[in-house]
């Protein structure tokens, strides 16, 4: 059992250097299991002031679409108990400008770069994937079929196993050698069914969870606070649901197919990250947590190293899916 070893601080110093926190994420080997989540860290440049991006295991960009998108009207966010709603509406500069203006900087960081791909039609998704397939700086694509904040596309692709299969295999083909990670929505009856559909259609990895569709009402005005009416709930509020879903997908879909999971939803501390890893995630992503503390992800990397050292765990890989009876 963990927690019973009590090395002296001298030993700990030694241990921390000996601990291996690198992980295998499909065919990628990452220096550590911590990513930033899509939409919460821009295109990397902005965060550089607050944290050394080389410390991250992976970096996921804001969703990119074939054409630039202005996004929704404001208010686009509202705070809730232990969480927030957002309805940004996939505001982004479009894949062409992304490649020209943002990718060069991204190519310099050590973290594995995943570009989050979104669209309103399968063709749009495919177009973005084709554009990125030959970009060396890109380690993989994250297929966003789970955005609750756009009228067309987005989540509607992610709730029906048949559509998941179709879009996944289309994008897989377009993505060439790039690793394809499919991002799942929690707004479904059985997430394992969707996970298996994605895997069957060629997904190399799964990421979960995206946000829950939700609403906050201004009781004075008697209308929704967000201009988009609804938004996606993220943050610590959803963490226990996210941990459960990661464990479910791990047990019922990912484990036997050896498909790695990127777990997220409310991660803010080392202990939150470890819950996801123990539940079955090979890596974790920090989203809303970065708003409260821009260097949150980097702090978690160090915390994981310390946890392993303190508990005599030689490699963080031992922890993945180690949830006991």
């Amino acid at each position: 059992m963990v927690g019973k070893a009590h090395p002296t601080s001298y030993m700990k110093v030694g241990m921390e250097n000996m601990v291996d926190i690198s992980v295998e994420f499909g065919r990628l080997r990452l220096s550590n299991p911590v990513f930033t989540a899509s939409g919460t860290c821009g295109y990397a440049g902005e965060l550089g002031e607050f944290m050394d991006l080389d410390q991250l295991g992976g970096f996921v960009t804001k969703s990119i679409t074939a054409q630039p998108r202005m996004g929704n009207a404001t208010p686009r966010i509202v705070e809730t108990d232990a969480g927030m709603l957002n309805a940004i509406g996939l505001a982004n500069i479009g894949v062409e400008r992304f490649i020209l203006e943002k990718l060069p900087a991204l190519s310099k960081i050590k973290a594995a770069v995943f570009v989050n791909v979104a669209g309103e039609t399968i063709e749009e998704y495919v177009a973005v994937a084709q554009n990125l397939a030959n970009q060396e700086a890109v380690a993989g694509l994250e297929l966003n079929i789970s955005c609750p904040n756009v009228a067309k596309g987005g989540i509607s692709f992610g709730t029906d196993p048949e559509q998941v299969r179709e879009i996944t295999s289309a994008v897989k083909q377009a993505a060439g050698q790039k690793m394809l990670m499919v991002k799942l929505t929690p707004n479904v009856t059985d997430i394992a069914v969707i996970a298996r559909a994605a895997i069957d259609a060629g997904a190399d990895a799964l990421s979960l969870i995206n946000t829950f569709t939700a609403m906050v009402i201004d009781i004075k005005e008697r209308r929704p606070v967000l201009a988009n009416r609804t938004g996606g709930l993220s943050g610590p509020a959803i963490k226990p649901i996210a941990v459960y879903l990661v464990n479910k997908v791990y047990n019922e879909a990912a484990k036997e197919r050896r498909i790695p999971i990127l777990g997220m939803g409310g991660i803010r501390t080392v202990s939150d990250a470890l819950e996801f890893i123990i539940a079955g995630a090979s890596a974790v992503a920090v989203g809303t947590g970065s708003f409260v503390e821009p260097a949150c992800a980097a702090r978690i990397v160090e915390g994981i190293r310390k946890y392993c050292a303190d508990n005599g765990i030689a490699s963080v890989k031992e922890l993945v899916g180690s949830l006991g009876e």
Partner: protein, 238 residues
């Protein structure tokens, strides 16, 4: 600055969960602050007449601007007139009650009078100063006084409908105008796109979103698309 310590005063108004949490802070609590972020008001060369038009807690930043100008190198060249709006007398965000004589002399607000700045108050219910909106009070002043538009500039901070009106007044008369905008912000550093402000692209009919946290909060009055119905319309279009 006191020796090796820097002291910062934070003037805030409780309007939501974050400011409510701030009230629970006690002496010696540690808080982590990222800043300064975004831009601030700028005073272009050649400006001789400065108008401050503000309402509610919008007072805080313009009061600070007035202090900077009057303590700065160009203090001698610049004349400031401040217009403060509030719903009622009690809503005025000033510590001390006004004194009638100063008010008649045009120095209604002590915080400004300290720097020799003329100040005029407007209340929606007429319980103090001008009876009506602060923007109507400002309009009346403009009617009653001569002004060289080129060397004048307006700084405004407060509720968005007030900013819209001020920007319109400025636009109509060709007076420069800087408005300090407000949006709900999640990250404050330009990564989350939550604080979008619709802005006109110069020399075109098209608009783009700028980020209030990074590109603002101060924008040129001509640039901002103030359309209160915009939010609803856009939502319906989707």
């Amino acid at each position: 600055k006191h020796g090796d310590k820097t002291t910062v005063d934070i003037l805030y108004c409780v309007v939501g969960p974050a400011t409510l949490r701030m009230t629970t802070l006690k002496a010696r609590d540690k808080v982590s602050v990222i800043g300064p972020l975004g831009n601030g008001f700028t005073v272009p060369e050649g400006k001789k007449k400065v108008f401050l038009v503000f309402g509610g807690m919008g007072t805080a930043p313009v009061q600070h601007l007035a202090k900077l100008i009057m303590e700065g190198r160009r203090a001698g060249e610049i004349e400031i007139v401040a217009f403060a709006g509030a719903k009622t007398k009690r809503g005025l965000p000033f510590e001390k009650p006004m004194d009638e004589i100063s008010e008649q002399l045009g120095f209604a607000i002590r915080e400004f009078a300290r720097y020799g700045i003329e100040s005029i108050i407007a209340t929606d219910d007429g319980s103090a100063g001008f009876h009506g909106l602060v923007t109507d009070c400002f309009l009346q002043w403009l009617k009653e006084n001569k002004l060289e538009a080129n060397s004048a500039i307006i700084y405004s901070c407060g509720p968005e409908p007030m900013l819209a009106k001020v920007a319109q007044i400025a636009g109509d008369r060709g007076i420069d105008c800087q408005v300090s905008m407000e949006r709900r912000m999640a990250c404050g550093i330009g990564v989350c796109q939550s604080c979008a402000i619709e802005c006109r692209l110069e020399g075109s009919n098209e608009t783009t979103y700028k980020m209030c946290c990074e590109d603002g909060p101060v924008f040129d009055g001509r640039e901002v698309v103030f359309d209160h119905e915009f939010a609803r319309i856009a939502a319906k279009k989707n």
